[in-house]
């Protein structure tokens, strides 16, 4: 209680030199603002990059590829039979090929768009994923109806005014490509499909533009598109192995529980495939972003340390200016500890005010940068909010706490000077 009341005197001390205290606090404000802006940017970008992982529940996924290198010719093909066997493994929920093909023509009435065909398993809707990307309609459900989900850019190119307008419409898909024909021969094939648009998606703003130019097809429909086995066949041909007509370049294996990732990975390796868990990829990315965050934090912290020197200066001047007053306080019963607490509190108040206003400044700057970046992005054809900055609650708390801590540490030396003032000397000084 006593310490609290003495700390209360600190506000009175600070009011004595409003301009100097304001300038010192501004130093902390700018330092914290810079720190917050930089860290918020790093966290924001990390979240943007991680969004597809979370939204598509990719953390349960293992990416499987046929083995490459010197033993590639003996490696088993990653074909439908292999995928069927993989699905039978304990803990595996689904196994489906990762297929995307460029140059697919999509027509609606007289309008035409060139899109990228991307396979999406029907189970995606059961997993409750990707809802945040669907801006109209829905994901695939059970059955084998000829359906498609269009990217927002494709919808615009096809002349629909709103995403909702496209839902339910019949579109035509035209695709052409080379299909391996056994041996070292390839056959040119063309196919046309009539599809019903059941949904429209909008890719996260930071993903490449091509992600918005997609047409999502159920896996079983995608298998009918010519050219989906081309990459795998060419790869086998280059490594000297026989061409497998139904092989895929890569597939996704979804496990029921992330705890089973390792066990399933071991089994897939034993089956002769290369594997990489998405969780590992994410962890590598997180390590990278952590390093970026740390780097930016260090830069921001240097600014804060420079601001802390301002606090040292301000408080040392206060000790000098209030030298007689300190002597008087000691004469009327203040202990060394009381004066130490008093000046340390003054430092803490400067840090707290600077931390809070710095947060506000950082938020303002980030909003401004978001506006500018959004304006630039719209010029590049990217719509939607970029969300480049993120202000998680922990960051807000840590920033203010860090500002207070640094300020208190900066206040230790002046506070010690105040505590050590000789009252007789102080009272005799003029």
């Amino acid at each position: 209680m006593r310490a609290l009341k003495i700390a209360g005197l600190a506000m009175n001390g600070l009011r004595r030199s409003p301009l100097r205290v304001t300038l010192t606090t501004l130093g902390v404000t700018f330092a914290c603002g810079a720190l917050v802006t930089m860290v918020a940017l790093a966290i924001g970008i990390q979240r943007q990059v991680e969004t597809p992982f979370r939204a598509l529940a990719m953390l349960n996924n293992i990416q499987v590829r046929p083995k490459e290198g010197k033993d590639a010719d003996k490696a088993p093909p990653l074909d439908d039979a292999a995928l069927a066997n993989i699905e039978k493994l304990p803990g595996v929920a689904a196994a489906y090929p990762d297929v995307h093909i460029k140059g697919i023509k999509v027509r609606y009435e007289k309008k035409e768009a060139i899109a990228i065909g991307i396979a999406l398993p029907r189970e995606a809707s059961l997993l409750g994923v990707a809802d945040e990307f669907i801006v109209a309609g829905r994901l695939f459900d059970e059955g084998n109806r000829p359906e498609a989900i269009l990217g927002l850019s494709v919808v615009k190119e096809l002349g629909f005014k709103t995403p909702a307008e496209a839902v339910g419409k019949q579109i035509a898909l035209e695709a052409a490509g080379l299909t391996p024909d056994g041996g070292d021969k390839f056959t040119y094939q063309q196919t046309t499909m009539a599809l019903t648009v059941i949904g429209v998606y909008e890719a996260p703003a930071l993903l490449p533009g091509a992600a918005r130019q997609g047409i999502l097809l159920p896996v079983e429909l995608m298998k009918d598109i010519p050219g989906i086995h081309l990459d795998s066949a060419l790869s086998r041909l280059k490594s000297g192995g026989p061409i497998v007509t139904s092989g895929y370049a890569s597939a996704t294996v979804r496990v029921r529980d992330p705890a089973m990732l390792h066990e399933v990975q071991v089994k897939l390796t034993a089956m002769g495939f290369s594997t990489e868990a998405m969780l590992n990829k994410l962890q590598h990315m997180r390590q990278f972003f952590l390093a970026i965050q740390m780097l930016l934090s260090v830069v921001g912290s240097v600014a804060l340390i420079i601001a802390a020197l301002g606090i040292v200066n301000t408080l040392l001047m206060a000790v000098m200016e209030r030298y007689q007053e300190i002597g008087l306080c000691k004469a009327i019963g203040a202990s060394d500890g009381d004066l130490f607490i008093l000046f340390l509190t003054e430092a803490g108040i400067i840090g707290c005010l600077g931390g809070l206003t710095g947060l506000g400044l950082g938020w303002l700057v980030s909003q401004l940068m978001e506006l500018v970046a959004g304006f630039y992005a719209r010029g590049q054809g990217i719509t939607g909010r970029l969300n480049l900055f993120a202000f998680p609650l922990w960051m807000v708390a840590v920033t203010v706490a860090f500002a207070i801590l640094v300020s208190i540490v900066a206040g230790i030396y002046p506070a010690l000077r105040a505590a050590r003032v000789d009252p007789i000397r102080a009272l005799r000084s003029h």
Partner: protein, 233 residues
């Protein structure tokens, strides 16, 4: 003199300072005592050692040798924290230059002393207001030092010194900065506090006439040596 009423007693009290190569003997083997409730004035010119004696009695300084007892406390043997508590609870200081905090009102200046004494809330406000009333500044309670005359500022300083009812009031040239008429008023106030509260007062001054008028006993200090300090008046 050894008496049950003896409140302050010093024996062989010495204090010296080193200023550069020179050694200054501020106090030389001072033996004196003060009765409980007595008003003692110590006269001396500047540099005679009177303020040093006051600082030793107030626990702001420690002697090089000798002992100083106030009540049942041996000040020379106290730790720094014990001396702080002693100043907080037993002593009230009045200084020549008042030493008021410019940013605080008269009442807040008085209450400042209570903060360090651990008195808070309504009790703190009541005691500070009561002390301000006692020195006749009830109407100036919310004024800041720069809105008060020298005499009024010294009254605030007196209110601050007595707000916790100290057993010992130490006044260091309390009228040194005041004109004759105001000095007489302030001296009268100190005398009134001494009389009303029964506080033991030790005051150093070089105003012989004023000292003779209010003090029970007047001592002289010269070159660090106290003259005629044997018994009470």
């Amino acid at each position: 003199m050894e008496s049950s009423d003896c409140f302050i007693e010093t024996r062989g009290l010495s204090r010296q300072y080193r200023v550069g190569p020179a050694e200054i003997h501020a106090l030389v083997e001072v033996d004196f005592h003060v009765q409980k409730g007595e008003f003692v004035a110590i006269l001396g010119v500047s540099g005679s050692g009177k303020s040093t004696l006051l600082h030793l009695l107030g626990g702001l300084d420690t002697p090089d040798c000798g002992c100083v007892r106030v009540g049942d406390r041996d000040l020379a043997g106290m730790t720094s924290m014990e001396r702080t508590i002693y100043r907080r609870t037993v002593v009230g200081f009045i200084f020549q230059s008042y030493y008021l905090v410019g940013s605080l009102t008269a009442t807040e200046n008085v209450a400042l002393a209570l903060t360090f004494q651990g008195v808070f809330g309504a009790e703190r406000t009541r005691l500070a207001a009561e002390s301000i009333e006692r020195v006749g500044l009830g109407l100036r309670a919310s004024h800041r030092p720069n809105q008060l005359s020298g005499g009024e500022q010294q009254r605030v300083a007196i209110a601050r010194a007595i707000v916790h009812r100290p057993a010992l009031l130490l006044a260091d040239e309390p009228t040194g900065n005041l004109d004759r008429a105001t000095a007489a008023e302030v001296m009268g106030l100190i005398h009134q506090v001494h009389r009303d509260l029964g506080t033991t007062v030790v005051m150093v001054t070089h105003d012989e006439e004023m000292a003779a008028r209010v003090a029970d006993r007047v001592l002289r200090i010269r070159d660090g040596r106290l003259e005629g300090a044997g018994g009470s008046a």
